[in-house]
Symmetry: C2
Subunit: 349 residues, 2 copies
Amino acid sequence: MEQKKGFHVAVVGATGAVGQQIIQTLENRDFPISELTLLSSARSAGSKVTFNGQEYTVQEANPESFKDVDIALFSAGGSVSQELAPHAVEHGAIVVDNTSAFRMDPNVPLVVPEVNEDDLHSHNGIIANPNCSTIQMVVALKPVKEKYGLKKVIVSTYQAVSGSGAAAVQELNEQTKAIINNEEYEPAILPVKSDKKHYQIAFNAIPQIDKFQDNGYTFEEMKMINETKKIMHMPELQVAATCVRLPVATGHSESLYFEVETDSVNANEIKSLLENAPGVVLQDDPDNQIYPMPADCVGKNDVFVGRIRKDLDEDKGFHMWVVSDNLLKGAAWNSVQIAESLIKLGIVK
Amino acid sequence: MEQKKGFHVAVVGATGAVGQQIIQTLENRDFPISELTLLSSARSAGSKVTFNGQEYTVQEANPESFKDVDIALFSAGGSVSQELAPHAVEHGAIVVDNTSAFRMDPNVPLVVPEVNEDDLHSHNGIIANPNCSTIQMVVALKPVKEKYGLKKVIVSTYQAVSGSGAAAVQELNEQTKAIINNEEYEPAILPVKSDKKHYQIAFNAIPQIDKFQDNGYTFEEMKMINETKKIMHMPELQVAATCVRLPVATGHSESLYFEVETDSVNANEIKSLLENAPGVVLQDDPDNQIYPMPADCVGKNDVFVGRIRKDLDEDKGFHMWVVSDNLLKGAAWNSVQIAESLIKLGIVK
């Protein structure tokens, strides 16, 4: 059967921070689109969005919005996905959902194409896009697992405010300006808009991303732990996470400690492995001060790794610094990449 | 023998960021001073400094500056300490050195009073003040070691620019202002003034503090590793560090993973222990979003700990978030505290 020339793609949450990046990424990738439907909440409906030089009017999303849609890319919040994704599936669309609504559902594949693309075959209409901080970590760890085995991961994150949405970026910018001008600025968004208290993010570091669970970990930390095990197919993997918000607009960084299963691996072997790994760019030359930084990763689809070095005590232990654009590989690009994989594998026809 | 009413104290580096904090701390603590000598490089000599309402003129430091000095507090850089500290000792002063010059010298005690005050007795004229990032970590870990044993520590730091001096703080402020105003600003100080390349710190995170060693670790990371073993008297302790500079003016944060020697300890036991530990303030109430943050620690002498929780896989593993003012407990206050201990223990008479 001949492959279709193009697909009917819907973007739900088209006016949001990630939605905008999805539309831009579809354009940059020259994604085979026959029809594009841009959807949002009632509040944002009517907005104009330009795609490939053509102006589109964003429509209010409702259960009937998905007629004839082949691929629906959702990024409008968990409750919207909960409500509308099943309707999209009923209409025959495959949903790629960027929220946490279905990620841990055993019937929903949670996919990072470099890691577990084959899981797409077992979809039941919905495919979940993992949390931003999880994605960049598993892209960097997958090649290590394949070659040397993987036993344990301890990660401390340095996360950008755009992970909390466009309003958080605005808060960072306005608050920074206020502090520099010695003016007052009442925090209202970060660390978590719906939580009780809000704290200054400018010139600060907040060790809370998402709300706290009863076990003392935040939901963000538990996402990193649980999603990593699911994506890597390693329920036995030991994963621990501490997630921290920084005064950085875009670009998550992660300080990783990991232990492999193989004896006597050296840091150069890990570097060579990652230099040739899909989706990974090695930036690791301490003599010339080459290492990844969030300010350099913005607008790029890759996961940047550096500072790779062996632990000084544990033969199987290594340290690594991992940086990526949380709106692209952490969200929009991974979603579009899943859609490209769906076409490549013949799952969407 | 009756204790002296006051001591002749010299501050070397009196016009620097830490020197200024030392002078302020001596005043705040009502330190028993009979005579105060303020010293600096030739360039800063002649500056006026106010102490207890009295104006002092800073003099150029030279080998003869230490006549009759009881306690000399050095914070003017490693080369100044190398050159002048031996002269101060010859004149009978006890030197408390805030640089890295003598820290790993086996004849020089490296002291954090809450941890190893007794090591002061074995001094040979010079006592070293540890690196800022090390101090706050060992204050938090010492009570854990005493009660439950300590096997392993993995730390990722979130360090403020004032650790690089007043010029770095100025760079952060001016660069932030420039970026907000869409103006150019050429980095010239951070991450390391004397290194080849300089990078933007505003809205960024730089995984380099101090220069790199051949093993891929920075000197800052190796300081944390080696100093921790020395201060804790635990050459066998497994310590690993990743040190990262943030766009924060003052206040270092650290994400710690540590393993104790004792089975079945729970997080509440660690919290109770630290709640009553000297120099430590427990800020750990996730339900009310209480945890330490750098913006809250500035100007305080304490080490703030929170986010204490048990690892989900390792029975002996725990996570903790540790914050302190790097200019106070990390430098000036620890130095003055050592001087107070020297008096209390009758070592300076």
